[in-house]
């Protein structure tokens, strides 16, 4: 597996922060968001194991810095997100209430999708979050269409298309990026390269090791970004969005990160990757990088961080409990929301 990309060496948080300073309040907020996303998944996986959540569960753990940069930097009064199935973190960052997300995961009638969608299929038009999607690459044309609609409606937002490294192998990626340039849509294609498409490493599913290299054929700007470092993702996101807003042209960005859990909750063996590799990535855990910087810079100390975590957990536990006791959908709802 010599062709397997290693975590991108990037400057230490201190250097990154010097290059792109973020104020203490912002960092505190980011830290809280990362903790929230991480703990959300921990509780979700626990509830899955307890039998309350069924079907699929794709954890976002490890990838949080990507969302911190790329979702926070959007202006969700005018911008839109079209996501894939690994969507819990992005929903939280979009401002959706964790209780409604848990309720959906529990199949409750007050869930985001009235209990009909499940983990991969939540849509919150109020939050400009236009879905997860269970089909790899299936959301890429949809996001392109959202961009085209914004253009036709002469609105000044952009659309963010989120997908994994595996989606680069689907025809829709290729077709959509070609059309995005032809039609000049204001869409950012965000590839979250977490090194694996289910159990298949990048080297085994991609003809080229760098995904930016695979995105050269579409006449649009491209770049590769360190996805573990909130300064790097925030800087890239702000700069890229400003450019797309101004030029009204699409852009492709590959963000390098790692998922800590298996592909989904059923994927436990992880026989396709090594402990060394996992350890190397955990060294650059986004939560660790951020919190150690904050401790060093004396923005927060270890105890405060732990207190923050406990506060977040308490908040989430309350949401879990509240969602649990919500009612399931009424039987009559089976045949609603579809023309018969």
């Amino acid at each position: 597996m010599s062709a397997r990309p290693q975590p991108k060496l990037s400057p230490s948080p201190a250097t990154a922060a010097a290059r792109f300073p973020l104020d203490a309040a912002t960092l505190r907020n980011y830290l809280r968001q990362i903790v929230m996303m991480r703990e959300f998944e921990r509780l979700g996986e626990r509830e899955f194991k307890s039998g309350l959540i069924r079907g699929y569960y794709h954890s976002y753990a490890g990838q949080e810095a990507v969302g911190v940069g790329f979702v926070n930097s959007l202006d969700l009064n005018r911008d839109y997100i079209v996501d894939h199935y690994r969507d819990h973190g992005h929903m939280l960052l979009s401002g959706m209430d964790p209780e409604r997300i848990y309720a959906e995961l529990f199949g409750r009638r007050n869930g985001v999708s009235k209990g009909k969608g499940g983990s991969m299929h939540m849509y919150s038009p109020e939050n400009h979050f236009l879905g997860g999607d269970g089909i790899v690459g299936g959301g890429i044309p949809v996001a392109t269409g959202v961009g085209l609609a914004l253009k036709q409606q002469k609105r000044d937002g952009i659309s963010l298309s989120i997908f994994g490294d595996g989606a680069l192998d689907t025809g829709t990626f290729h077709e959509s990026l070609n059309m995005a340039t032809l039609f000049q849509v204001p869409t950012v294609y965000l590839c979250i390269n977490n090194m694996y498409s289910m159990g298949t490493s990048l080297a085994r599913h991609s003809s080229m090791p760098r995904l930016v290299d695979r995105a050269q054929g579409y006449g649009m700007g491209t770049e590769q970004v360190d996805g573990q470092d909130v300064w790097a993702t925030t800087e890239a996101a702000e700069r890229i969005y400003a450019r797309v807003r101004k030029q009204k042209k699409p852009y492709f960005v590959e963000v390098l990160t790692y998922r800590y859990q298996g592909h989904g909750i059923h994927d436990k063996a992880l026989n396709y990757r090594t402990l060394e590799e996992e350890t190397a990535w955990h060294e650059r855990d986004p939560l660790k990088l951020l919190s150690s910087y904050m401790i060093e810079e004396k923005i927060m100390n270890r105890a405060e961080i732990e207190a923050l975590r406990q506060e977040v957990v308490a908040e989430l536990e309350a949401k879990v409990e509240a969602a649990k006791v919500e009612p399931e959908p009424d039987a009559s709802e089976l045949l609603e929301d579809v023309t018969l």
Binding site: K116, H121, S124, I135, V146, Q152, E175, N178, M179, V338
Partner: protein, 328 residues
């Protein structure tokens, strides 16, 4: 005012009227713009409405159907053309998993008001061969979340396409290829034809001939021939395949006690099967004889002129089947 128009002209009127009425209506597809549409349906619209409302796409069916979905959930009213409906096989994931399902999967929070349209079946011209002349009606009609319609004449073509564009549901609008260049009466004024009502196209008392799309013309011809032999055939145009309106067919069978279902699609697992199954469930006690089917032969569409003819349902087969049912 009633005017004589070809089907593609009728469809073109519908598009022009709706685009004029509602600026959210936009057209996407291959050669729909500058080329004016391979089957003429979009003729003149590029010149009239410009390239932002009539968009030529590359050969990327899956993705431009998906683009339509994205536009629709944002409140546009995209009308996406498949140059031939056969090419929708490329887009089936977007049709089944996105266009049809997003409303339900979102618990009704999003609607997908888009139209997917294009010609299907063996026509307008002969010799389309296996990959270009299929009639995939049943593939679409099986999918919950879609409305699936197919007009049998020019008047319905216009009124149904207008209704489809105004529908908040995703609509698959199947244009019978053999009808594309045929002429008939159209009202050049404003009217809509509902998307959930079958229609009796000819009254009769002895037997019911049931078709949709291009097979209605075969039924009408067969009815004409049967009349010469003293058989009075009623012709019911199913017109709306999903949801399927059985009322006129059931009422007719109640009267005639005999029926033949006629279909250009391959017989097995074709739309005709569903119609027969509903007649079984809801019309059984009215039937004196089993309902049978006359349909496309179960082969890819062959090229040779004689084989192609043989592969299609024919008026003679319908007449023979009707007579067999009536026992004469």
């Amino acid at each position: 005012m009633i005017v004589k128009k070809s089907t593609h002209e009728a469809l073109n009127m519908a598009l022009r009227e709706e685009m004029t009425r509602d600026e959210r209506v936009v057209i996407l597809g291959e050669e729909v713009g500058q080329y004016n549409g391979v089957h003429y349906v979009t003729r003149g619209l590029y010149a009239e409405f410009g390239k932002d409302r009539v968009m030529d796409t590359p050969i990327s069916e899956e993705s431009f159907v998906g683009i339509g979905v994205g536009m629709a959930i944002m409140g546009q009213r995209p009308v996406v053309e498949m140059m031939r409906m056969d090419f929708a096989l490329r887009a089936m994931d977007q049709v089944y998993n996105h266009m049809a399902k997003i409303r339900y999967m979102s618990g009704g929070r999003l609607a997908v008001p888009m139209v997917l349209r294009g010609p299907e079946g063996p026509g307008p011209n002969p010799g389309l061969t296996a990959q270009h002349g299929q009639q995939l009606t049943a593939v679409f009609a099986h999918c919950p979340g879609l409305r699936v319609v197919s007009p049998s004449n020019q008047y319905d073509a216009k009124g149904m396409l207008k209704a489809a564009i105004r529908s908040d549901d995703p609509v698959v609008f199947l244009e019978p290829g053999p009808l594309n260049n045929k002429q008939g009466e159209v009202d050049d004024g404003e009217y809509l034809v509902p998307l959930d009502q079958a229609d009796t196209k000819r009254e009769g008392s002895d037997i019911t001939l049931i078709g949709y799309g291009a097979s209605v013309a075969l039924c009408l011809q067969a009815a004409h021939e049967l009349e010469r032999d003293g058989v009075s055939a009623e012709v019911v145009d199913m017109r709306c395949l999903r949801p399927l309106d059985m009322a006129p067919a059931l009422a007719s069978v109640h009267k005639t006690n005999h029926a033949v279902v006629v279909d250009y699609a391959w017989q097995s697992y074709g739309p005709g099967a569903e119609i027969v199954a509903r007649l079984m469930a809801e019309g059984f006690w009215d039937l004196e004889k089993p309902v049978t089917r006359v349909a496309g032969k179960e082969t890819p569409l062959p090229y040779a002129a004689n084989l192609e003819e043989l592969s299609k349902p024919s008026v003679e087969e319908i007449v023979a089947e009707a007579k067999r049912s009536l026992g004469n």
